[in-house]
Subunit: 354 residues, 2 copies
DNA sequence: CTGAAAGCGCTTACAG
DNA sequence: CTGAAAGCGCTTACAG
C-alpha cells in the first residue's frame, strides 16, 4: 500500500495524505479524520526509505559495542541495575538503557558489535550511508580513536559511554563517564564509618585509568582521615579473579592483617572470598570486604557483597538523551559528564566494636 | 558525497559507479579499480535509503523483545553462555547471538523492546514501513499472537525464539524452542547414575508449558528406571525463589526425605539453598541439588550449581540463520525445531555410596 | 562496455 | 485548503 493508493481510495491527492501524516496545519478536521481512519483500516505506513530520501529524519541511532581483541578494559562494565523495569537480566543494562531511552524518544536503535579493527570500516559506512543520525559508542579503546575523531570532524554526532580517553573535553562529542574517584571515596568512607582504620586495597591494572582513580580515591580518603597510607596497605592486582585470590592471601597471611579490604572490582572479590574461605576465615566476622562495580553476581555471593554501583544504565540513559537532543538541534555538542557512584550495602562489612 | 559527484570526478556516469558497486560483469578491471580507489579516497557510500527505494534489499532485521506486563514466562531465559566470544556478560546471549549472526551474514540488527500492548503498533509499523526484511521475536506470549499471525498472513518473515505457543507447526514461521523434556531427562538420568533412587522435584508453574515438560521428563525417566513416581515426590512451585525455599523445606522436613532434588529452575535453587542452610544441612553432602537453565548466577552459588543449559545463544543463532536464509530466498518457511539441552556439571550433586 | 532516462515512494515549495 | 510537479540518490532495463 502506497500513499498513492490510499489517495485514490479517498479521492484525495498524495499531498494531502502526506500533510495529514506530517501534521500540517490548515487541514480541516474532517479530512484529517477521514485520512487517519483509512490509514488504520488499510494498515498504511509511509515507506521509511522514501520518507528519508525526501528529507525527513529517520530517527535512528546506533549503539556500537566495541570489543576489539586484546581489549581488557571492559571489566567495570559488568554490572546490573535493579531499577530497570524488567528484572530479568535479558542483556546488559547499558544496551537496554540506550534502546529504551531511544525508543522513548521515538528513535530506532541499531546495535552493532565490533570485534576487529577491520569491522570499523562498517561502522564508518553506517554513518556515510546516512543510515543513522548518530551513535552511542560503548567500550571505546585507542584502536578506534581515529575513526571516532574522523566522524566528529565530519560533523557526525556521537556519544561515548565510559570511554578510556582522557583528554576528551576538547572534542565536539558527548562523553559520559563513571566517577571512579567518587565511588572509591564512598567505599573507603563507609569502611571508616564502620570503625575500620586498618584497611588494605587490592588495586586493578594500574595502567588503566579506572584502576588509578580508584586507588587515588582510596589514598586521599584515608589521608583526609589522618591515616598514613603505606606500601604494605596496597596490593597491586589486575582486575582478575586470580589476582583477588592472591591479594587476599597476601593481606591475611601478613603479620598484622587489616580489618577490611577494599577490592577494586567485584570479580577480584570472587577470588578473595575463595582465599578467605581456604584460610578458615569468615566474611565479615573476620574480615570486611567491599567491592566495586556491583556486578550482576554480587548479590549472589556468600555473603552478598557490599559494593559500589556506578549505574551504567543511568550513564547510558544520559548519553542517549544528550545524543538525541543534539540530533534534534542538528548541532554537535562538546560535553563531559561524570555519573554518580552509590554505595550498595549488603552483608560483607562489619561494624567494628570499640 | 553522492554517486553523481564521484562520477564527475572520475569522468564517468552514475550508472558505471553503481555497476561497480553492485558488482556487475562486463566492466573492465581498470575502470573497476579506478572506481573503488575513488570510493575509498572520498569515503563514498551509497545512500541507504535511495538504494533501498531503488529496489535493493537493505539487509536489516529486527529483534523484538516482548516484555509485556504480567508476563512472567521469561523465567527460563535467564541464562548465560560461555561459548560467546566475549566473556563479559554485556547483555544476554540471545540478543548478542542474534546481532552477531546477523552481522556475520551481513545484516543490520534493529532492537526494539516492547513493554505494553500499545507498543505493538510500533512493531507492526516497522514491518509496514519496510524498514526491515524480517524479525526475530523473543519472549512471545498470547498478547501478541494476533499481531504475529497478521504479519505472517501478510507474508512477512518472522522467527520466534522459545515461544510458548504450542500449535505452531501449521504457521509459515520459524519456531526454535528449548527442549525442556530432553533437558529434564538428562538431569534425572544424571541423578540416577550417581545412585540416587529417592528423588524429589520442585516444579515450576504447571500452567506453563516449560514446567509441564520438565515434570513429564522427570516422571518418564524415573518410570523407565522402574521407580514409581508418587505424589510425595512432587512439590508444585512456581519458578520463584520463594517457592524454591518452601519446596526444599517441604522435602527436607518430611519423615523420609529424598537424597536428591531436581529443582525446575535455578532461581528456585537460590531459595532452596537458603532453606537447606537454615536446616543446618549441606549441599551436596546431605542433599544433592540439580537445577535447570544454567542461569548467569549459577556458577556463583555456593556450591556452584549443577544444572541444565539450553544454550539460548545456539537457539538464537539458529533462528537468525533460518530467518535470513528465508529472506534471501524470499520465501516464508514453516519450521519447528528443538535445541539441545546439555548437562553442566558443577558441585551440587554427590555420588551416593553403596 | 557505458550513458541517458525512468522509476522507486515519499515530502514540500509553488500555484491556485 | 489542496493538487501538480520537482526532487531526494540510487538502480537498472533500454539503447547504442
Amino acid at each position: 500500500m502506497r500513499s498513492e493508493d490510499l489517495a485514490k481510495i479517498l479521492g484525495l491527492s498524495r499531498s494531502t495524505i502526506s500533510r495529514v501524516i506530517n501534521n500540517y496545519p490548515d487541514i480541516p478536521q474532517v479530512t484529517r479524520d477521514k485520512v487517519w481512519k483509512a490509514i488504520e483500516e488499510y494498515n498504511y505506513a509511509p515507506n521509511a526509505s522514501a520518507r528519508k530520501l525526501a528529507g525527513v529524519k529517520n530517527k535512528m541511532i546506533a549503539i556500537i559495542l566495541l570489543d576489539i581483541k586484546d581489549n581488557e578494559d571492559l571489566h567495570h562494565i559488568k554490572t546490573t541495575d535493579h531499577t530497570l523495569i524488567h528484572e530479568n537480566p535479558f542483556f546488559s543494562p547499558i544496551v537496554t538503557a540506550v534502546i529504551d531511552q531511544a525508543n522513548k524518544m521515538d528513535y530506532y536503535a541499531l546495535v552493532s558489535i565490533v570485534y576487529s579493527k577491520n569491522d570499523l570500516k562498517k561502522v564508518r559506512n553506517i554513518f556515510h550511508q546516512k543510515l543513522i543520525d548518530g551513535a552511542v559508542f560503548v567500550g571505546t579503546q585507542e584502536a578506534e580513536n581515529d575513526l571516532i575523531f574522523d566522524l566528529i570532524a565530519q560533523k557526525h554526532l556521537v556519544a561515548m559511554i565510559d570511554t578510556s580517553e582522557v583528554n576528551n573535553a576538547n572534542h565536539n562529542a558527548i562523553y559520559i563517564n563513571a566517577d571512579n574517584y567518587e565511588g572509591s571515596v564512598k567505599a573507603v568512607s563507609y569502611l571508616l564509618e564502620l570503625g575500620h582504620t586498618s584497611v588494605g586495597i587490592i588495586t586493578g591494572n594500574l595502567n588503566k585509568l579506572s584502576a588509578i582513580e580508584r586507588l587515588v580515591g582510596f589514598k586521599s580518603t584515608l589521608k583526609k582521615q589522618g591515616i598514613d597510607v603505606t606500601e604494605h596497605m596496597i596490593y597491586e592486582g589486575d582486575f582478575t579473579e586470580a589476582s583477588g585470590y592472591e591479594g587476599a592471601k597476601h593481606f591475611l597471611t601478613a603479620s598484622n592483617p587489616p580489618t577490611a579490604i577494599f577490592v577494586s572490582n567485584d570479580t577480584m572479590v570472587v577470588g578473595a572470598y575463595k582465599a578467605i574461605s581456604e584460610l578458615g576465615l569468615r566474611v565479615p566476622q573476620d574480615i570486611s570486604i567491599i567491592g566495586f562495580d556491583n556486578s550482576f553476581f554480587s548479590p549472589y555471593l556468600n555473603p552478598p557483597l557490599t559494593t559500589i554501583d556506578i549505574s551504567f544504565s543511568g550513564i547510558a540513559k544520559r548519553a542517549t538523551t544528550l545524543l538525541i537532543e543534539s540530533i534534534e538541534q542538528e548541532q554537535q555538542r562538546g560535553i563531559v559528564e561524570k555519573a554518580n557512584a552509590t554505595l550498595v550495602e549488603r552483608e560483607s562489612c562489619q561494624r567494628l566494636k570499640k
